[in-house]
Symmetry: C2
Subunit: 346 residues, 2 copies
DNA sequence: TTGTAGGCGTTATCAG
DNA sequence: CTGATAACGCCTACAA
């Protein structure tokens, strides 16, 4: 059959197969297979002939064909909400590295930018189509109910968010510990009125419980917690409006470093002195925002450990088989003190 | 043949195939194939029966098997040096999105953390094994000579670095334009002695020409350029030592925002006032460091455009076939003025 | 040690 | 519109 030029292009002028190599090395295709899959015995001589022939032809094993018969892909599927976010970027990086040392490949899928659960589901579907052996889900958006159908089919680990659902394995940093630690820090400094930028659970499955923990601990310490509605990271001016309405407030807790920095920008713009007039806390401690240049007091999540543990947990799941019951791996973070918090002025 | 329990686990209790669905829907496997590949005609009735059967079984198309016969994977391979870096994170994000709208999947590979060309090559090899249809290479480390063998086999685009090699298609932001713009800015402000934190080409294929351009433009403008050896992003104290040795220096140009921020940290630590005593410029404008909170004067790279164009160029290459000759797509950036630069004090 | 044959899950081709 | 059947590239008994 004649191929159209475009088809030719697509297949890169017919990539050489095991058979081409076999012909050139004057052996059977089994021998070539044995050489590249590194099992079975092959004499050093033949082996070299095969290797030479393969090199001349530019032969590269076809992972797809191999996977088909081996019933294994040695591939882990990682879904993250947004690679450009430092949190997910680092998470992915840590997983890549860990998977690599365990002999697994990682393929990534993301939810195509827009804020749509539907897109995220399609991305997961793609991962399953590619026959990844396991799934790591890192998304503060996807509800547990949506994840369940996938978890039933392929071993799944949820990473980086406080998973309340008992049905799947998860790895995350305790949000209450972090929220409470920061709240305690402010209480210890003597703040009595603290604003907390709050998010709804529908907006973020990580940020909501985190801020809830802050509020709870503040109240436990007898500090008045003033809720400020978050509504996305770009509404800083509205937060500040609300905060400045209550002059008794001497500190603000942001749900993440990103939020905190937006807040700091706006406060700077309006000439509000930090920390003299207002103390500010962040959360995450990942990536460039953790620079001492900004000096933000925050809770640092052990992102590398989360990534590593997630992969380890997934591989354990793979090895243990279906019955391996869901387990929650809860990691600890660290309080990092910066220059953005101080005792209240008055 | 009996399967061992562990094998069973790995294959998730035998994922259903097209044949299982066919049996359940009481049709031939061809019909099922037609339904899921959406080609050929199938009566609405049968179609529904197939869909139902598939849903009950939890059937998902096997992309591998499909790719084998179709000779297409609709998959683009993207190699980035480090996903955790904002530059590459955003680049990847932009590519993912663009590829998605063009109907391509993206699989990512990275160089496993360590500083080793060998690792990067292995990652590229993996991509080829997976039969990606095209390659995008984003790495300031991998020399052109190493890339060539891959580019000969599969359509390749080099993204995000100034490619001097004529042999492959590339997309990048003109480093000379940016370096010159920043140098001009300082010259215009009246600086006569400017330190430039310089890197070797072996350290980074992007940063080296960038700093070279800065030096060149400074000299063209009659400004004395004082070279400071970079040696990695963590040697800030040594840069500052060198800079302060020359009190006539009133401005410092860093090869990237990251370097600039490290520099600012160290200057802050030593109590050197910016910009009163020393002006500082960065480069990139990507991610969180671009915050007005820091207010760094820098050159902003159009990272989204780079990602988008890289994918577009690659897909064009795919469609045009082998003869499509290498083309260089050079994009423009923007000068962003911050508070880190000012006229020299004296 | 090497070769032969069959099958993995899907699509494409060609009859019915 | 539907059903056989032959690939696709590789691995794996089994036979030589």
């Amino acid at each position: 059959m004649e191929r159209s030029p475009s088809q030719l292009a697509l297949t890169s002028a017919r990539r050489p197969t095991i058979i081409d190599v076999a012909r050139r090395a004057e052996v059977s295709k089994s021998v070539v297979s044995r050489v590249f899959s590194e099992r079975g015995k092959v004499s050093a001589q033949t082996r070299q002939r095969v290797l030479d022939a393969a090199a001349e032809l530019g032969y590269v094993v076809n992972a797809m064909a191999r996977a088909m018969v081996a019933h294994r892909t040695y591939t882990l599927g990682v879904f993250v909400r947004d690679v450009a976010t430092p949190f997910y970027g680092h998470l992915l990086s840590a997983m890549q590295e860990r998977a690599d040392t365990l002999g697994y490949r990682v393929v990534t899928a993301t939810g195509s930018g827009r804020f749509a659960v539907e897109d995220e589901l399609r991305a997961l579907e793609t991962l399953v189509m590619m026959r990844v052996e396991g799934l790591v889900i890192g998304s503060g958006l996807l509800p547990a109910a949506q994840i369940l159908p996938f978890a039933e089919r392929v071993p799944t680990v949820v990473a980086g968010r406080p998973e309340t659902e008992e049905n799947f394995t998860s790895v995350y940093c305790d949000e209450r510990e972090g929220g409470a630690a920061l709240a305690d820090h402010l209480a210890d400094l003597g703040h009595r009125y603290v604003a907390v930028i709050t998010l709804r659970k529908s907006e973020s499955l990580t940020l909501a419980p985190r801020t809830a923990a802050m509020v709870q601990e503040l109240r436990r310490r007898g500090v008045e917690a003033v809720r400020v509605i978050g509504r996305g990271v770009d509404a800083a001016d509205r937060w500040v409006d609300q905060i400045l309405e209550r002059p008794e407030v001497t500190a603000v807790m942001a749900p993440s470093d990103r939020y905190a920095v937006r807040l700091l920008e706006e406060l700077q713009r309006r000439g509000v002195d930090v920390p003299a007039r207002l103390s500010v806390t962040g959360y995450d401690g990942i990536g460039e925002l953790a620079t001492p240049l900004i000096g933000l007091t925050h809770w640092r999540q052990p992102i590398d450990a989360i990534g590593r543990s997630a992969v380890d947990a997934l591989v354990a799941l793979l090895d243990s088989g279906p019955p391996g019951r869901p387990k929650r791996h809860v990691l600890s973070g660290t309080l990092v003190l910066g220059r953005s918090t101080a005792p209240p002025c008055r």
